[in-house]
Each structure stands twice: as structure tokens, then as C-alpha cells.
């Protein structure tokens, strides 16, 4: 039986946070820290063996998460956390592989790997911190930025349509898809725990403030401004049709668990194939 929320909270940060690495690099009001805390708490909530929980990150603010967890953790190259994690998981399927990174890393430069990992339905949880911009490099436009948003490289407003990530991931073959904002910490923690226990590819989008650059340019200069915005705009809609989950500049932010299905994973197919191969060769 899982312990009480408070116990989980106290124990997870003590056990799974690499405290000798603090203070972290994230700005005041940033959403990455709270999301990371949700992940740490989810390890115990999901009753996982932490020795086998792998954290793999790419590059960017969210990519630094791997460096703050007291778990086997890999800070890889820009966009390549997923293929690195794919090698880890295929080489040792008993590992729990969690990719923790940002929207630019996972969806722009790493977008091809994201859809292929979903297609394979590899047993992996991807936590995508979506703050709509490249925070580390000073707030350039990202692939999830809504139209007309101002960033360091869209001074007259964003002129590129954005990805609707839940829809993209569902079309690609994921087994589990959820989206929360960093206002929905309890729901996020539960979702991450559920995703890590779920066989197959799980994708969790976390809408997160970036007050220092994105917020400053879009009338949300404090983290709290973004949270107030989430209160106003977010609507919990579990099971929502992912065609309806696009995020625009001022409209509703649909959050919830959108998809949770059972389907064979690449590991199921791989072991069937290996059995077949070994039998054929013995003949």
C-alpha cells in the first residue's frame, strides 16, 4: 500500500534528489522544479525499485533534470535522449526508462525520435516540459509556441502553427497520453506514477511557466502570473479527443488523461521473434 502523501513527499526528495548538486540552475518561478518533484514522488507512489529507474535528458533547462536526481542518470545531446534511452531499455528491458526533457529538445530537434519511439510502443515514459520556448538560450520560438506569441525570434508575433502534442503522439502509437500544468501537481504525480507502471510508450506533457524569458515577453513576468493564467484557462477533460487539445494564445488549455490503452509493446514482439529465430536455427 502506498504511504501517505506527506511521507512520500518527504522521503522522495531526501532519497532521490541529488542534494549535493543544489542550488539548481532553474529561475525563480520556473515550472521544471515542481514537475521534477512530482516525478521523484511518483517513484515511491508507483512502488518502483529506484535502482532500476533511469533518467535520460537532452539539452536545455529541462535537460538539466538528469543532473539533479540521485538515480542512474544520463545528460545526453540535444534531441537524443530518446534514442539513448531506447538503447538502454532494449539492452536491459528490466529497467524503467524515464526521459525528462523540454519541448524544443523532444519535439523539434528530437521530433523524429519521439514519433518513432511512440510507434515502437517501447516501454518508456517521456515527461515533456512544455514552456513554448527555448529558455536556456534566451527565449527563442519553439515548435509548440502558439501563433502570434512573442519570443526573442518572433518579435512581431509567431508566424508558425504549433504542434498539438497529444494528437501527434496518439497518431504515432503511444499507449498513454496525459497533459497537466504545474498547477495540477497532484494529478501530474499520479499520472507519472501510472505511466511508469504502464507497459508501453507513455507521454506526459507538462505546461510550465518560463517567467524569465517567455513570460517577460508575453505579459506573465512572474511564475505566479502564469499559474493564474492556468487557473483561468485550464479545463480538466479526461478522455478528451486529442484532436481538440491544441493550445492557442488565449483559448482554453485542455488537461487530463487523454489516452490509456493496452497494446503489445516492442518487447512483446521482440521476444516472440527471438523465440521463433531460436527454434528455426535449432531445426
Amino acid at each position: 500500500m502506498p504511504d501517505s502523501d506527506r511521507e512520500i513527499y518527504e522521503r522522495s526528495t531526501a532519497r532521490y534528489l541529488r542534494q549535493d548538486r543544489l542550488p539548481h540552475i532553474w529561475c525563480a518561478g520556473c515550472g521544471i522544479g515542481p514537475a521534477l518533484n512530482c516525478f521523484l514522488r511518483a517513484i515511491d507512489r508507483a512502488e518502483l525499485d529506484a535502482d532500476r529507474v533511469m533518467v535520460i535528458s537532452g539539452i536545455g533547462c529541462s535537460g538539466r533534470a538528469a543532473g539533479y536526481v540521485k538515480l542512474d542518470s544520463f545528460h545526453t545531446t540535444h534531441g537524443r535522449a530518446i534514442p539513448f534511452a531506447t538503447g538502454l531499455k532494449l539492452a536491459n528491458p528490466r529497467l524503467t526508462t524515464v526521459v525528462f526533457s523540454g519541448d524544443g529538445d523532444l519535439v523539434a530537434i528530437g521530433g523524429n525520435h519521439l514519433i518513432h519511439a511512440a510507434r515502437r510502443n517501447i516501454d518508456m515514459t517521456v515527461i515533456c516540459i512544455n514552456n513554448f520556448n527555448y529558455g536556456m538560450t534566451g527565449g527563442q520560438v519553439g515548435p509548440t509556441a502558439p501563433l502570434d506569441i512573442r519570443t526573442a525570434t518572433t518579435p512581431y508575433g509567431n508566424f508558425e502553427p504549433a504542434f498539438n502534442l497529444p494528437w501527434l503522439l496518439q497518431a504515432s502509437g503511444a499507449s498513454y497520453i496525459a497533459r497537466w500544468t504545474v498547477l495540477h501537481l497532484h494529478e501530474l504525480e499520479l499520472s507519472i506514477a501510472e505511466a511508469m507502471r504502464k507497459p508501453g510508450f507513455a507521454f506526459i506533457e507538462v505546461i510550465s511557466p518560463c517567467p524569465t524569458v517567455y513570460g517577460r515577453m508575453n505579459k506573465e513576468p512572474e511564475g505566479l502570473d502564469s499559474l493564474r493564467n492556468y487557473i483561468k484557462r485550464s479545463i480538466i477533460k479526461n478522455g478528451a479527443d486529442t484532436r481538440d487539445t491544441a493550445i492557442d494564445k488565449d483559448g482554453p488549455i485542455i488537461v487530463g488523461k487523454f489516452l490509456d490503452i493496452q497494446q503489445p509493446t516492442i518487447h512483446d514482439y521482440l521476444s516472440l521473434m527471438k523465440d521463433k529465430a531460436q527454434k528455426q536455427v535449432k531445426k
Partner: protein, 385 residues
């Protein structure tokens, strides 16, 4: 076939197949790749063979992903390999650097074709030799081997794994289309006949293990993921704990150690084959398929009474500086035929340092040198005062 699925005996096979079998014999149990001519046969052979020996083959979405996947698999404790050719090799460069920075054993095979760009996909080149040395950004040393026959494809693949495991580095097998596609006799020895190296594992307790703490050998022991060491590794400049440190001192300490672990051990890494060198006045220095033609040309020169000798660079990187320097003090000329417009010849020239003639015999790719071309270069040097 032995009980554990490894081949033993004499076979007629092409170089690509021999490379795959060498990998299986070396204990490679993970292959990630992407189809590309003329390396595809390695992936095909691995896809057939790995499931039988309980390994894993995966075709990734591109060569970037293939390179990353073998790094991940290596950290999970498996010997891992990928194989490609020019365009794919270019795509692998960034994460080759990650492999170097994380000190991750793995083997990358390049069956070279002629470029630049798509070039001649089905025809031979030896044009990625400097890319092998310098292709990833940053300051580093690399180990690269160059086989000249299917037998050497087998033998050197095993050696590549052994070196990668010993020094905790990615090792490059720089072959070429002709060696990859030619079929010859390949002898695969009994299991246990070849010494196999596996990375040094930590002896520390799990709490005291530091992923980049050395034990006096410049090569830190490597933990396997999922065994409770709770280590962190990063492509950022880092200290013994694996933690990022952003300053010149940490950078110097780390990069110097990683460079030194190859440089200071280069004598044990370098392998050369020579022929008629003892009294040679003219040395033809070559690698890969060109080495075989060079050897033939040297024999032709000897028939004409010219004191020519031959040296095959089996190890191309680290470059055998000492050997070339020693020879340079007593021979008249070095001739370097290669299927590019001049790459390794610059290394020879650097080591010769003006003490002998250095002559490039370039070739743009698409086929191999004719022996007469190399012979006439030998004669030209012979005639010079």
C-alpha cells in the same frame, strides 16, 4: 556452429559478413543501424544472427539514433556496434563525441564509399580518414583500425571491441566498399582462442563509486546501469563525480586525461604489417584495400631491382608517428596511395619532416589504384637524386 550460436571453422564470406561474425565472436550482443550501401550487409547479418545468440538487433530511424542507441546499450552492460558509410558516418559525429565524453565502449564500422555527399554509393572510397580523426567537435583522441581483407574484417572487429572495452572509448573500424564486398576464406577460431576484453567494473561499494575516478591507469572503472550505483554522466565537462564543472581547470583535467589514455598507450594500440622493409629505400605506406595493391606494386618493383618496401597501417589512429620517424631517417622516399585526394599522406609528411621524399598517389574514388600507377610512383622516386 557452437552451442552458443557462434560460428567456428573455415568459411567463404564477404568482408561485411566477416565483420558481423567478428562482432558476434567478440561478444557483441546489441546492434543498432540504418540501411546504407555498402554497409547494409552487416546490419542484415546481425539481424539474422543476434536473435539466435540472445542479442538484440534494432533498425533505428536514422544514424543519429543508431549511434545514441549503442551508447545506451553499452551503459546497460552490453557490447554494442553500429555500421554505416559516409553520409551516415557524418550524422554520427556529434554523438560519437558524446561516446568519447561519457567514455563509452562501442564499435562504429564505416564501409567507406566515394563522396562528397551521396557521391558513389556502390563504389569504393577511402575519404573519411580525416573525418574519423577530427569529425566530432572538440579536442580528443580516437582509435581507428583499417582492415584489408575479409579475414582482417573478422580479426580487427574483435580487436576493435577489445580496445574499446579496455580504454572505454568508441573505436572506429574504417573499412571500404571493396573489402566489405569481396569474398575470401575466413577462418573463425574456436571459442576462447581469441582473448576477449570486458570493461573494468567498479570495486567500490555502491555509495562510494565515482564514475570518473581513476585508479592510476587513466581509465576509470565503469558501472553498469540498473545495479544500484546511482551514477550521473553528462556530455558537459565534469569532475570525478560526473558532475558538471564549468571552468578551464576542470576542462583541462578531463580532456588531458582522456587524450592521454590513448596517447600514452599508443604503442600497445598500434599494429602495422610490413613487407621487405629491412633494406627498403622506398616505402609504400597504405591501408585498407589500397594496401593490397601497394604490396603487389612493391613486389613488381623488386622484380625490377628497386629496393621497395611496404607498410600496412592496420591502426590508422593513433597514427604510428614513431615508426614513420624512425624509417624516415634511413629511407629515401615514402609513397602514400589512397582513394582520396590526399589525407593520410599529410600525417606521413608531418612525421617525415623533410628528411625524405613524401609522394601522394591520389585517387578520386569509384575504383582502386592500378598497380602500375603505384609502380610508376616508385620508379619516379627511385630516379630522383
Amino acid at each position: 556452429m557452437s552451442n552458443n550460436g557462434e560460428l567456428v571453422g573455415e568459411f567463404f564470406m564477404n568482408g561485411d559478413t566477416a565483420c558481423a561474425e567478428g562482432a558476434i565472436s567478440a561478444g557483441c550482443r546489441f546492434f543498432a543501424g540504418y540501411p546504407i550501401t555498402p554497409a547494409t550487409e552487416i546490419a542484415e547479418r546481425m539481424s539474422r544472427r543476434l536473435p539466435v545468440v540472445n542479442g538484440t538487433y534494432i533498425q533505428m530511424e536514422d544514424e543519429i539514433a543508431s549511434m545514441c542507441a549503442i551508447l545506451g546499450a553499452s551503459w546497460a552492460g552490453l557490447k554494442a556496434m553500429t555500421a554505416t558509410s559516409g553520409p551516415g558516418f557524418s550524422l554520427m559525429m556529434e554523438n560519437l563525441g558524446l561516446g568519447i565524453m561519457l567514455e563509452t565502449p562501442c564499435v562504429i564500422v564505416n564501409i567507406q564509399r566515394a563522396g562528397p555527399s551521396t557521391g558513389l554509393p556502390t563504389l569504393v572510397g577511402q575519404q573519411d580518414m580525416m573525418q574519423a580523426r577530427w569529425g566530432s567537435h572538440g579536442s580528443y583522441e580516437i582509435i581507428a583500425l583499417s582492415p584489408a581483407s575479409p579475414q582482417q574484417m573478422f580479426d580487427l572487429t574483435i580487436r576493435a571491441f577489445n580496445l574499446s572495452e579496455k580504454f572505454r572509448v568508441p573505436v572506429l573500424l574504417m573499412s571500404d566498399e571493396v573489402v566489405g564486398h569481396m569474398s575470401e576464406k575466413v577462418v573463425i577460431p574456436e571459442i576462447g582462442a581469441e582473448e576477449l576484453v570486458f570493461r573494468k567494473l567498479p570495486k567500490n561499494s555502491r555509495d562510494s563509486y565515482l564514475p570518473y575516478q581513476t585508479d592510476g591507469t587513466l581509465i576509470p572503472p565503469m558501472a553498469i546501469a540498473g545495479e544500484g550505483y546511482r551514477f550521473h554522466v553528462t556530455g558537459l565537462t565534469h569532475d570525478e563525480r560526473g558532475y558538471p564543472v564549468m571552468n578551464a581547470r576542470a576542462q583541462n583535467r578531463l580532456v588531458t586525461r582522456m587524450v592521454d589514455k590513448i596517447r600514452l598507450n599508443s604503442e600497445s594500440i598500434i599494429m602495422l604489417e610490413d613487407h621487405l622493409l629491412d633494406d627498403a629505400e622506398i616505402v609504400v605506406c597504405a591501408y585498407g584495400i589500397t594496401a593490397r595493391i601497394a604490396k603487389f606494386a612493391v613486389n613488381l618493383a623488386r622484380q625490377e631491382g628497386i629496393k621497395a618496401g611496404f607498410m600496412q597501417l592496420i591502426t590508422v589512429w593513433p597514427f604510428p608517428e614513431r615508426h614513420i620517424r624512425m624509417l624516415a631517417s634511413r629511407v629515401k622516399a615514402f609513397i602514400v596511395p589512397e582513394i582520396n585526394r590526399g589525407q593520410m599522406v599529410y600525417e606521413v609528411e608531418r612525421c617525415v619532416a623533410g628528411r625524405a621524399i613524401t609522394l601522394s598517389v591520389p585517387h578520386s574514388g569509384g575504383d582502386v589504384h592500378r598497380p602500375e600507377v603505384i609502380l610508376s610512383a616508385i620508379k619516379e622516386c627511385h630516379a630522383r637524386q
